[in-house]
């Protein structure tokens, strides 16, 4: 193995059950996002652009889609002479095998992988966040501060701060306190779940953590608090860009709309920081004589002859005449027949919607808390069906 200064461990093992039916057949990082990507593409592309070319992807829950999507990372320029993406799923040794109990335990089980690269620093990232970030700057900051661990933080709105892990800082970015979901937050700097550790210190803490029977083996809940208690040099790196954890159906819909609206500078059209992915071959999109498309993101392999407004349409979708799609996300290979109305909804892969159906509220409710209707993958909706958020498994 060639020696690497810093390698990344990408956590992609979770089910993400709050995304409901979107994770029925695949792990959360594999959920389609942004018109032609999967959520994990953002983290992998960040690695590629940051010069982190060796990535271990920790998988456990229904990893098949992820495995075939990622491969060796060729499509992210991460496969080379001395670099590649390696899928690290649970394995058996002489004494049997262990399922990953938590994020920290997953990394613990693969310490030998990290050792093989003799890397001094380990970057821990997650496969279910949407952001464009240069980890190289984070590493530079970590080295400048001579930190033992550095946690990337981002400002969140004060009224939402109590939903996050909040960092309270001392001078020069030193972390003094970490509060998980505080009722009365003292700061609005939330942990992004992006960490750099000095490798030796990380290994020590992971070994200790596995022996601690009370631990749930989680970076945020166990490792970081323990390091703080021990008075380790922990620093917060302030990230200024767009960052979202798309953990729920609502936040998935909101983040999708943010991509569409290029909110806060998140931009898949950035020529220097493009998002890489793996696609199957698709013909060009065909926009029919009766089509009307405005304010939308439309992938290849799409046939549109209806009306699409402020929506995201994935490959292989057909939208027929007089159908009206608004504020919605149409996942791959959906067929929307004529005279269908879809409003503020997410339509799952391969679903077929019979003509005249109405999905979501008929009226465009402009309430602050969005009410999103979710239709599962692989459904057949009879013509003239009606399906709104109330039936949609109580979102």
């Amino acid at each position: 193995m060639t020696k690497k200064e810093c390698i990344a461990m990408l956590l992609a093992g979770g089910q993400g059950s709050r995304l409901k039916m979107l994770t029925k057949n695949q792990a959360k990082p594999a959920v389609p996002f942004g018109g032609q990507y999967r959520i994990i593409d953002f983290s992998l592309s960040n690695c590629a652009h940051s010069g982190i070319d060796t990535v271990g992807v920790l998988t456990q829950y229904k990893p098949q889609t992820l495995n075939s999507h990622i491969g060796f990372g060729d499509n992210w320029d991460l496969a080379g002479l001395n670099s590649c993406v390696t899928i690290l799923s649970p394995y058996a040794g002489e004494a049997g095998g262990n399922w990953y109990k938590g994020t920290a335990h997953a990394v613990y089980e693969n310490l030998s992988f990290i050792d093989a690269y003799e890397s001094q620093y380990v970057l821990i990232i997650s496969g279910d966040h949407v952001y464009q970030m240069d980890y190289g700057l984070l590493l530079k900051y970590h080295k400048e501060k001579q930190a033992e661990a550095t946690i990337a933080v981002v400002e969140v709105p004060w009224q939402e701060a109590s939903r996050f892990g909040i960092m309270n800082l001392g001078k020069e970015g030193v972390i003094e306190e970490f509060e998980e979901k505080p009722a009365f937050p003292k700061s609005n700097l939330a942990s992004m779940g992006v960490y750099i550790f000095n490798k030796n210190i990380l290994a020590d803490y992971l070994h200790a953590d596995v022996k601690d029977k009370t631990s749930v083996n989680d970076f945020g809940k166990n490792i970081i608090p323990k390091m703080l208690r021990d008075g380790r040099r922990l620093f917060a790196y302030p990230f200024k860009g767009y960052w979202r954890d798309v953990g729920t159906v609502e936040s998935y819909w909101l983040a999708s709309m943010d991509i569409l609206d290029e909110k806060d500078g998140i931009n898949i059209f950035d020529s220097e920081w493009g998002v890489y992915s793996f696609h199957t071959p698709q013909p060009p999109q065909y926009v029919g004589a009766a089509a009307k498309i405005t304010g939308s993101l439309i992938a290849e392999g799409v046939y549109i002859n209806g009306e699409v407004e402020h929506s995201i349409v994935f490959p292989g979708v057909q939208i027929h005449q007089k159908a009206i799609i608004k504020d919605s996300i149409i996942l791959p290979n959906v067929r929307i027949n004529s005279d269908v109305t879809v409003n503020k909804a997410i339509i799952g892969e391969n679903t077929w919607i019979g003509e005249g159906s109405v999905i979501g509220d008929r009226g465009a409710s402009k309430s602050i808390i969005p009410k999103v209707t979710l239709v599962e993958d692989n459904q057949q909706l009879e013509p003239n069906s009606s399906w709104n958020l109330i039936e949609a498994a109580g979102v």
Binding site: G34, G35, Q36, N75, I268, F269, G274, V275, Y276, S277, H279, T280, P281, P283, P284, Q285, Y286, V287, G288, A289, A290, A291, K292, I293, T294, G295, S296, L297, I298, A299, E300, Y303, V308, I312, V313
Partner: protein, 382 residues
């Protein structure tokens, strides 16, 4: 399973027929259909028929073609046994206007001999159709044919257009006449420049050509051996053409804007493979109006587009209008510009407010890159 057939994509010798579009690229590398290059169609037909061994004859200006093909991975041809082979042409001269130049085959005779397949399927890099070659092989064997040509019935032929090969075919699908002169007849059997032949027979023909130093497959072999050999015609009914003039290049793309024709070429009978690209989905801004068009990924459209073919990463700015155009990758149509009947080569930047119009059947072609545009600006402004 066409494991017993190898493919040869031949290099046409009248590349200059596409004028500036082939000035700095091979015919096979000319963009077509919003996201493809001409060669993608024949190559995809071959791999969709499970042909695993494809030789591609190349001449000068092959950089963009080689860039495009890479090691054949996107077509599943990056293999240890068989795979994709880039073959040299016998000569780089464009003067000889052979329809299929067998001298190119002769200089690659070692490759032909080494290949293990029984049949050779020969096709030009500029042939556009979607066709299951298994059916052609079945036809070939059913008819005990020595050589099978694929043809279409063409009703749109006009005198004075590009050169074509016309076939006279009897009721048993045997070809009884070959004509390479233009004719007045409205409906005719037009060769689609695709030939299926046993390798052994091809090698015999090559030996004969070598002795006679006459190398044109159509004129010197087929046309002269109609009695000696059983040469049959396989009628292909789908959308199909040979791109050999600016006219055909433009008009066949306009035809593809009819949904059923586009579907026949792009979707039926297997995928068309092309070089992998990372462009994002196409963005339609509020106020955009797009109709009856093929659009590739990575475009940003704020203006009006209709009856046009829009390649990757094209920007159509506000109040710009694109009508009956073929726009190649990376072009920018500035605010308020009006384009009608125009073919824009890659990377052309149209300044705001420009008005450009081609005539009804002859598109206006603007060359590659900003500099070319600058040079030509005076000529093309109205």
């Amino acid at each position: 399973m066409m494991l017993d057939v190898m493919g040869i994509i031949h290099h046409i010798k009248y590349e200059n027929c596409l004028q500036s579009l082939t000035e700095c690229r091979s015919m096979g590398a000319v963009p077509f259909g919003a996201k493809y290059r001409l060669i993608d169609f024949v190559l995809s037909n071959m791999v969709n028929a499970d042909i695993k061994n494809v030789g591609i004859i190349t001449a000068l200006n092959l950089r963009s073609l080689l860039d495009h093909l890479g090691n054949g991975r996107e077509w599943g041809l990056d293999k240890k046994r068989d795979g994709m082979f880039i073959l040299p042409a016998a000569s780089h001269s464009l003067r000889r206007k052979s329809i299929v130049d067998l001298e190119d085959f002769y200089v690659n005779i070692d490759y032909l001999k080494r290949s293990k397949q029984k049949y050779v399927l020969i096709a030009g890099s500029n042939v556009i159709y979607k066709l299951d070659y298994n059916k052609v092989l079945f036809f070939h064997e059913e008819n005990n044919s020595d050589i099978t040509l694929i043809y279409k019935k063409d009703q749109s032929w006009n005198v004075g257009q590009e050169p074509q090969v016309f076939l006279k075919i009897d009721d048993n699908q045997r070809i009884v006449g070959i004509n390479t002169k233009c004719k007045v007849k409205k409906t005719d059997n037009v060769s689609l420049d695709t030939y299926l032949i046993k390798k052994e027979l091809l090698l015999e023909i090559l030996a004969e050509c070598y002795l006679q130093k006459k190398w044109d497959l159509v004129k010197h072999v087929l046309a002269k051996k109609l009695k000696e050999l059983k040469i049959c015609g396989y009628h292909h009914q789908g959308f199909s053409t040979v791109i050999n003039s600016l006219n055909s290049y433009y008009n066949y793309q306009m035809e593809l804007l009819l949904p059923e024709k586009g579907k026949d070429l792009f979707i039926s009978h297997g995928a068309i493979y092309t070089k992998f690209n990372d462009s994002p989905p196409t963005k339609y801004y509020p106020g955009s109006e797009v109709n009856s068009s093929l659009v590739a990924n990575g475009c940003v459209i704020a203006g009006k587009v209709n009856n046009s073919v829009i390649s990757r990463n094209v920007k159509v700015e506000r109040e710009a209008s694109v009508h009956k155009c073929v726009i190649m990758p990376d072009c920018v149509i500035g605010k308020g510009a009006y384009l009608e009947g125009v073919v824009l080569d890659k990377n052309v930047n149209i300044p705001a407010g420009t008005v450009l119009k081609g005539s009804q059947h002859v598109p206006l072609v603007l060359g590659k890159g900003w500099e070319s545009w600058e040079e030509r600006a005076v000529e093309v402004h109205e």
